[in-house]
Symmetry: C2
Subunit: 248 residues, 2 copies
DNA sequence: CGGTTCCTTGAGAGAACTCAACGTCGGTGG
DNA sequence: CCACCGACGTTGAGTTCTCTCAAGGAACCG
């Protein structure tokens, strides 16, 4: 991540120079749409790990956020104080869109590495339906992904399948070919996939011994993509846009 | 179930005489709203187990259904032919509403006991927003429940917690106080909760030995409701309307 | 009556968890 | 500068939970 977050505080962004580039949900839109969207964005701002939440569960929904750079997580905290990670958000991802229809945010959001987000006031979302309906559609499409993920994680899969599926998801979402950099800790991965930290480690070690990948801390290199696909495919974490959303 | 489905084939229903009674989503609506809804309903029809699906995944969405009596399940079938139950539908529940925005049904639906459903052509749903907006809101509220359930099932809970949560959900949704009649098989329960049939049996037996409930086949009597609540609460299957829907 | 489905229980196997220990790394303070 | 501390990643050992395989009883149906 060569992007320097320190020098870019709360300035009006320009989508044409965004580090998220084509991974932004606007990718594929017309220049006119990009202009409409650029006008909707109020500011961008840095977010750092360990410095509090971007917003907390239940907070009044004032903004929707778009990840410019870095990585954030959204999570809930149950009555016992246990964190449950709902999603990781990479550059180009939208955060908070599904909370628009509610009084408060459905989850808390925090950076897991130095990040930058665009701030879009909620009031500027609705007008998009008139100004750039295609844009709104792509926005909604993005937001439905987390639902597919929740559904995918509700299946009963082995630890190996979950980890393989997770790596495939990360590969697809980062646009990487074979070399991945995981921004989150093993603990966060385990929390997200509902398994112990140690199990995440062991599975990665096992996959390494099987020649499927090589791993050094948070750097993963996929050696045998077909095999990883076979392992992780059933979970359905990758390519969630093709998945059906929820039961009738 | 004293309701006789044999004599009631495809006749225009009257909401005032519906066996679902107050459990229907219309419960709490005004008389005027009930009239609007009654007009939207085309027919009601019996559905029997083992006689094919009410509709199948991918079928063109022509109708939305409302359970009058009995119990149905919605499910998907994966590439290996394994059924995965997404939801059970009891009297008053709506089936297929979330598929309205799509070309095809998101899942298949079938009766698990002799049932009756009201048929509402999809074209009659949209006009409700003008005629009886409160009705549509309650309809949408109902339909969001399955999402909460998917989220609840994605957590890592013990078999005991899942079964306890399931029983609490059934108690709440049937409006029962302590005596429950489960319309579905142990196998279906296990499929829904993602666990082996035998484990469902064993857990029920264990809860019985602990004095939490007594069970004879599909009849369950809850002896120690507070204890069942303690066990099943964390899963969040009951009272899903209070639950947050999905990650931001 | 024979066949089928469902519910239940037992025995053994396997997967994942907990507990524990150790090495590394980065920051902090003496 | 270096010792210390905490967070993170890894690995081992033992335990626990759930699954699979197997079998038997009960209810239902042709």
């Amino acid at each position: 991540m060569a992007f320097d977050t320190r020098g870019a505080t709360r300035s009006k962004p320009n989508c044409m120079m965004c580090p998220a580039g084509t991974r932004c949900f606007t990718g594929g839109g017309t220049t006119a749409e990009l202009g409409v969207w650029n006008d909707a964005v109020q500011t961008h701002m840095p977010v750092f790990p360990g410095t509090g939440n971007l917003f907390a569960e239940g907070d009044t929904v004032e903004n929707v956020y778009l990840v410019r750079a870095g990585c954030l997580k959204t999570f809930t905290v149950d009555e016992d104080g246990n964190e449950r990670i709902r999603a990781f958000h990479l550059p180009g991802d939208v955060i908070g869109l599904d909370s628009l229809a509610h009084d408060g945010y459905a989850s808390s959001a925090a950076a897991i590495e130095p990040s930058q987000v665009c701030v879009i006031p909620r009031a500027r979302i609705a007008p998009l339906s008139g100004q750039a309906p295609g844009l709104l559609l792509r926005l909604l499409h993005r937001s439905s992904r987390d639902l597919s993920v929740a559904l995918a994680l509700s299946g009963d899969y082995t630890a190996e399948q979950r980890v393989a599926g997770f790596l495939m998801m990360m590969r697809e979402r980062t646009g990487a070919e074979r070399k991945l950099r995981l921004p989150m800790t093993r603990r966060d991965i385990g929390n997200f996939l509902r398994m112990a930290t140690e199990t995440v480690c062991r599975v990665i070690t096992r996959l390494e011994r099987q020649g499927v990948l090589s791993s050094h801390d948070r750097s993963i290199e996929i050696i045998d993509l077909p095999q990883l696909t076979v392992l992780g495919e059933p979970v359905g974490l990758a390519e969630p846009s093709n998945r059906i959303s929820l039961a009738a």
